[in-house]
Assembly symmetry: C2
């Protein structure tokens, strides 16, 4: 078929309808999209355009690929709606169309694309990978959930099952949402998920009514909405693997059975009005089943501007690298390294020319660097690294290595974060980080700066973080579940005071407004250079105090601390705890 080509915006326009794409209920567009994408491959600067409408996609006939997707449940074949591989100068414009997916598949995969843009479209699932009901009865050790009328479910073997993608999936966790705020309920956390969930007893009280029972069970509040989680975190809305200069603009992700976007090994990416948000008018309280956006081993500029991230079941944004374990020294300049975390398997975390940091597992401090000559993936667990230089003599098995080259700059401006599960912005990159003019309300920390080589293996140390002119609104209303303070800087170093050097550096928090119902504003450990200046702290009465922190600012093992010119709205004397010393910072 010869595409209808129009010159416009320096693009050759390819019309999806000429390949059979139809905005019709019940019509599967996967084959039409595949044909259209194949045709675009032969056209320089192609722009695939969809007439505005609602397009449906099923996994049955979708293209399939084995993918290693970081921070998702790994290993397996994934069905894909739009697979873009090695595209250059390509654009997809949905012109405001809705793409509705049915069951387990990834809407967009971009592999090694450059100068490629996706814009103007809405992503949603007909049936999402969660269920919800309303708390309709409570007593001392049990509560009932009323499911919506007509909900298909099964209670069997002390478990509740829902259908997703043609299979019955077992519920493995509950999250309570406040019926008024449509956000996680005060102090709800994950206290009814995973291990805690596995201890509850489940019965069917009546048709459409499920009873949860248990000793010391965390009781929700009557009238609140319970989100019931099931399924595996397999299918993000967007998966970007490699490539450079990628843009996503004016995109609305109403649901994904994984993250909204996960990008790994990518250089320069721009999200503008990339919104993970509830569909207007919906009664669903969840958007993505995991993080809104997540960036692993990227470099260049990550720019996130004017995005709304709400009601997803994990953090709005996480930027980090991967620590890998030294498994064996092989000769003078070769190392066998292991990708330890199950969600980091198969990621090629280094390439020739990269600078590798050698890190001790207790201090997280870098004791040597070296340059990669060759990388060979043995399998999803092990990589063979050959270095230009001889290995440091004290590089020991079980030490960690991180990649010092792939650390992006991050700019987040004009974004709003609210009503999601867990934290706000998770920042673990040594690039220049700027958070400016955002409005952040998370049930955990609004900003979390960590680094850890023992549990999550997410690197690394920050070197330059500026947080300014943001509004932090009632963060940490599930505390200490997801952080201690509004800004929580807590690398996983057991005894940071026992090491001379600090892990993090140069964090500046200036000219922000913190509206908070509780005490904790900043918690920090192992920082060399932290400024907290010209901020305004106001008191809200949105929630009861939980008093997890004793002082608004608590810093440990920190150097070059600068706390000046902040306004505490209630005018009382403000005492911070700096390296175990009480300091009046009023």
């Amino acid at each position: 078929m010869t595409p209808d080509r129009h010159k416009g915006d320096n693009h050759m326009i390819v019309r999806a309808e000429l390949f059979g794409a139809k905005p019709e209920q019940g019509f599967d567009n996967t084959l039409a999209v595949r044909s259209a994408l194949e045709s675009c491959e032969e056209i320089d600067g192609a722009k695939l355009v969809f007439p505005q409408g609602v397009y449906h996609f099923w996994p049955d006939r979708a293209i399939e690929k084995h993918l290693f997707i970081s921070n998702h449940d790994q290993d397996g074949l994934r069905r894909i709606g739009f697979l873009l591989t090695g595209r250059n100068g390509f654009t997809i414009d949905g012109q405001g169309s809705e793409f509705i997916f049915h069951g387990p598949m990834i809407p967009f995969v971009m592999e090694d694309c450059s100068h490629t843009t996706i814009r103007n479209l809405v992503i949603d699932w007909e049936k999402p990978m969660f269920a919800q009901g309303t708390v309709c009865r409570i007593d001392a050790e049990s509560f009932d959930i009323q499911l919506p009328e007509g909900a298909y479910y099964k209670v069997e073997g002390n478990a509740v099952w829902f259908e997703y993608g043609g299979k019955l999936e077992k519920v493995w966790g509950l999250n309570e949402f406040d019926k008024q705020t449509k956000a996680p309920a005060y102090q709800s956390g994950d206290r009814l998920s995973w291990g805690a969930y596995s201890k509850v007893r489940v019965e069917e009280a009546a048709a459409g009514v499920i009873t949860y029972r248990g000793d010391n069970i965390k009781l929700p509040q009557a009238g609140n909405v319970i989100v019931m989680r099931f399924g595996r975190r397999e299918d993000p809305a967007f998966f970007i693997d490699g490539g450079e200069q990628l843009s996503l603009e004016s995109i609305y992700v109403h649901h994904a059975p994984g993250m909204g976007l996960i990008a790994q090994k990518c250089t320069h990416i721009h999200l503008r009005e990339f919104n993970v948000m509830l569909r207007p008018g919906t009664d669903r309280l969840v958007t993505a089943a995991a993080d809104a956006t997540h960036f692993v081993n990227c470099r260049g500029q990550i720019v996130i501007d004017h995005c709304l991230f709400e009601n997803q079941l994990d953090d709005p944004c996480n930027v980090h690298g991967i620590y890998a374990r030294i498994a064996e020294r092989l000769g003078d300049n070769r190392l066998l390294i292991e990708l330890v975390h199950s969600m980091a398997k198969g990621i090629l975390i280094a390439e020739p020319g990269d600078t590798i940091e050698f890190v001790r597992r207790d201090s997280l401090l870098t004791y040597a660097v070296s340059t990669i000559k060759d990388v060979k993936a043995l399998n999803k667990d092990y990589l063979l690294l050959t270095f230009e230089q001889p290995l440091p003599s004290d590089a020991n098995v079980d030490d960690m290595v991180g990649n010092a080259t792939w650390n992006p700059d991050l700019t987040v401006v004009g974004c709003a974060v609210r009503s999601n599960r867990a934290r706000g912005f998770l920042i673990s990159t040594s690039g220049n980080v700027l958070l400016e003019g955002n409005r952040i309300s998370a049930p955990g920390a609004g900003v979390k700066i960590s680094g850890d080589a023992n549990y999550w293996f997410e690197s690394g140390a920050v070197k330059q973080v500026i947080i300014r002119h943001n509004e932090f609104l009632d963060c940490n209303y599930c505390c200490p579940d997801w952080g201690r303070a509004v800004i929580d800087i807590d690398p996983e170093i057991e005894r940071p005071e026992s090491f001379e050097a600090c892990y993090h550096r140069n964090i500046s928090i200036e000219n922000n407004v913190f509206a908070t119902f509780d005490v904790g504003i900043v918690y920090g450990r192992s920082i060399d250079g932290i400024t907290f200046a010209n901020n305004v702290i106001t008191r809200s009465d949105s929630y009861p105090l939980h008093n997890v922190m004793q002082y608004p600012i608590q810093l440990y093992a920190c150097k070059n601390v600068n706390i000046v010119s902040n306004q505490f709205a209630d005018g009382t004397k403000i005492i911070a705890l700096i390296n175990d010393v009480e300091v009046d910072i009023t």
Copy 2:
């Protein structure tokens, strides 16, 4: 590293030891082999040679690939000892070495290789993917199995668990072996596996003694050996995918946690002294956990000569194609087809230029043929076929298609088959088939010629089969579990007599010796042209009669039947049943 190259047999010899291969207990040779194979890639006509010794391989550092392996449990990454991709004129010579594998991995994968030979080596597993014990007590509804001293096992949740590859695997079936013959016990079959097994109750009677209990449980005989099956059929000893002119010579497979060899989409393959056999002196009673050899969608010549296939847990040899379901007509000349069987997923069953047969599901008869112009794999389930010609007007959804081009000739000479689970030679190819000078003793049919578009989807019809000068020795001692007669020709057509044409053609059974304790020699349906001539039938007293067949020869819906000059040793009048008519064939 520069390989040590010697000219010999027109080969450049590459010595494995120069790449670090070491025949040492506890030393993992995977990385050394990988380096050696990489080095060989740059050498025309390379021959990789191992000094004779015992080499060990672990999966941890082995190369990994996502493979679709026909007739194995599908979908997933596989670890591989020797991965040969696109090699031409390459040889591996083990010089009699033993390669011992530890846990889940495939010793040899050959993808798209040509003129490549592997020879002179032994394959075994340190710990096999089965366990065995001895029946030490029986009563009316239970029996005990005594495990060998020191066996590691667990009885928990009404199940027995054994360790394999670092994981505990649940037993899902038992096979009884006769302590005298070391073959499946008379009439044992699979009567304690899968569904039947799931009904038994399991207890630990004492340390190392397991009790199985159940109503109407199939009881074994005291003193017999019980093979306990667990794990998935994932890792054959040899997996050949594509390529041509491949030879395997003087190879001894003592165990594989899958088939001995599975070849798919391969042209010309020669097995000479490729033996799937018990290690001399072992007390193990099982070799491969599945078929000894299996060929799917191959073409050219398959030659199997002077091979011994014994004690594997499925058939010694199966040659077939794959029937796929018409899922949708897409325009004039395009079909969407579905690979139906879970063990046939992901196999690209056609390529441009191939002739495709259109087959009705009830008759299995071909009603049209057409030529492939283009094949596109949408995913592991669906292929998009474009034809040179318009589709037959009566090609309907749910009809089947088979590939008429990829049908190999098969020559089996001088082979021995014995003591395995299930059948002997399974033949479903329209190529010329010759079985000559073999000694076949299987607990099911010695030769099975089927074809089926409803359960296993294994095509296709035979056109020329010669079975001559073979010795069939006490086949069918588990009957009717794995066949009715020594030669069982039974395409899965419910009412073959209702169709004018026959499915199979030209089967000649001449000059064979059938030594049998029972009645049935040949059972056949839907054959045009069957000759049974100059055979000698002798009576053995190895087992009691089971009388599953009433007549030594029973043929239904057959044409051109020719039964002449056979000798029945006991000299009595012999009546065959030919198309429901009793015929004296003495």
